[in-house]
């Protein structure tokens, strides 16, 4: 597909913004056109937060997404708000550690990932977003996994470089 339009939604602190940025960055490294756009409320914590990522072979005009090729929901309110935006036949990723409800959509491919539990299994609560990222990248093919790894290497430098192996590992953990 020439255009990938992704919505990633959750609450502040879950790292949804970061994984969106990483996909956009990876897309750029692959020479694609990309946009990343966040949305959040005025509260510092606990409000909902989401971002939109578009990766395309041609120039992107609108950075907003009304029909997503894939949607990722990291908490329940996000499921309610965004499930309807997946286009028929598109992908809906659900963090099943926190979202126990089911989707109403039967015309989309649903992919449930126990991100938090997998993260705990990897001994680091905080990589649940990377677990999801891995799933999204492989299932959608929005960018190449190598590009994501390259991005990781650019982002996790200095102090953070020691978390690199774990983060890389998290990318494939969803499959296990």
């Amino acid at each position: 597909m020439a255009v990938h339009k992704l919505i990633i939604a959750g609450f502040g602190g879950q790292g949804v913004m970061l994984i969106g940025q990483m996909i956009a960055y990876a897309g750029m490294l692959e020479g694609k056109e990309v946009t990343w756009m966040p949305a959040y409320g005025p509260e510092m914590r606990g409000g909902t937060a989401n971002c939109t990522v578009i990766v395309s072979d041609k120039k992107i005009s609108s950075p907003i997404v009304t029909e997503a090729t894939a949607v990722v929901v990291m908490n329940l309110p996000s499921l309610h708000k965004f499930e309807k935006l997946v286009k028929p036949g598109g992908l809906l990723f659900i963090n099943s550690s926190l979202v126990h409800e089911d989707t109403d959509r039967d015309d989309v491919e649903v992919c449930r990932i126990d991100a938090n539990e997998i993260a705990v299994r990897l001994q680091n609560d905080k990589v649940s977003n990377m677990v999801i990222l891995g799933a999204v990248v492989s299932k959608t093919g929005i960018v190449k996994m190598e590009s994501i790894e390259k991005v990781m290497e650019k982002l996790f430098t200095g102090n953070k470089s020691k978390t690199l192996p774990l983060n890389k590992k998290a990318l494939t953990a969803w499959e296990a």
Binding site: F11, G46, N75, L98
Partner: protein, 80 residues
């Protein structure tokens, strides 16, 4: 019987642990497993029997999640 009693409104709790930090006899802690609907692990009493009803936890809770009761008679009154 316990001199005091604390009642938590778990839905209001944000798991900030301020109450835990000020309880003079250290009988509060965050719930091990429960999550409330906002996704926080709410505070709870580990050893209700020992609560003196001093009121400190209620006093410091920023979210109105705690009510504190005390036996009517006897005991010195910490709350003013």
């Amino acid at each position: 019987m316990a001199k005091g009693m604390v009642v938590f409104d778990e839905e209001r709790c944000k798991g900030c642990e301020l109450c835990i930090s000020v309880c003079p006899i250290k009988i509060l802690s965050l719930h091990e497993t429960n999550l409330n609907s906002k996704g926080y692990r709410p505070a709870s009493v580990t050893d209700p029997q020992r609560c003196t009803g001093c009121g400190s936890c209620g006093m410091i809770c920023p979210d109105g999640a705690i009510s504190v009761y005390r036996e009517e008679q006897g005991g010195h009154q910490n709350e003013e």
